[in-house]
Amino acid sequence: MQIEDKVIKGILVVTPLEKRLDATAATDFKGKMVDWINLGHRRIILDLSLVDFVDSSGLGAIVSCLKTLGEGGDLVISGIRDAVLSLFQLTRMNRVFQIFPSSEAAIKGLSG
């Protein structure tokens, strides 16, 4: 899975460039995220604006990244489409992750 990464104000912004975060993509996605966490990134914005399909395997991989970050870390979601947001609501993960309309709003939220 191709993921664009950039650091803004000390916050890592990662944007998956593919449309599907599913069972096929989940392992690769998680591996790349864990690499960034192991490099020392503690505040991460996952920008899902280009992703139009996430299944429970993809969601599980996102949850796993949050666990890897541990208590001192922050993983928030931005740009999520309404349809994909419905998966977070069905599984109540919208109560776990802070969700922002855009990565700019997330940067403001995490910088404040």
């Binding site: 299944d55 599980g60 666990k67 419905s86 998966l87 109540r92 109560r95 776990v96």
Partner: protein
């Protein structure tokens, strides 16, 4: 497992043709993807040549997805209740959500075992506001 994407995209195309809105089309695709992924992982233990047959039927009132496999039978259709403390990150669930999602997004989900076959049927009603094509 890559063929699951093809199945998902095919069902999504049906949903778009049937004028499902974005969320309904996504959730219907999601239910099928969860069902087939579960079968490959649990009924067939991830074997690469797992055979799963999906039949899409358009009824006057609903879209029906029938998924048939000959793997290990499903033990129960009742999903575990997804209970967790959102603030306790170390105990968040990473899996076991598939059945719950299928039952939440589809109007009817039924499972039966016939001979060597597991037959899962999931139906999604058309909203009454929408004329069927």
């Amino acid at each position: 497992m890559a063929n699951v994407r093809l199945l998902g995209l095919a069902v999504h195309a049906f949903c778009v043709y049937l004028n499902f809105d974005d969320t309904e089309a996504y959730q219907t695709q999601l239910a099928l993807v969860e069902a087939v992924t579960n079968i490959i992982r649990h009924a067939y233990d991830g074997q690469p040549d797992s055979e799963v047959e999906v039949t899409v039927t358009l009824y006057p009132q609903c879209l029906s997805l029938q998924v048939v496999d000959t793997g290990r039978p499903l033990l129960a259709l009742n999903p575990k209740v997804l209970e967790f403390d959102p603030s306790d990150h170390s105990h968040l669930p990473e899996g076991g959500m598939g059945l719950l999602i299928m039952q939440q997004v589809m109007d009817r989900v039924a499972y039966r075992r016939v001979g060597p076959s597991n037959i899962l049927t999931m139906e999604k009603d058309f909203p009454t506001r929408r004329p069927t094509p």
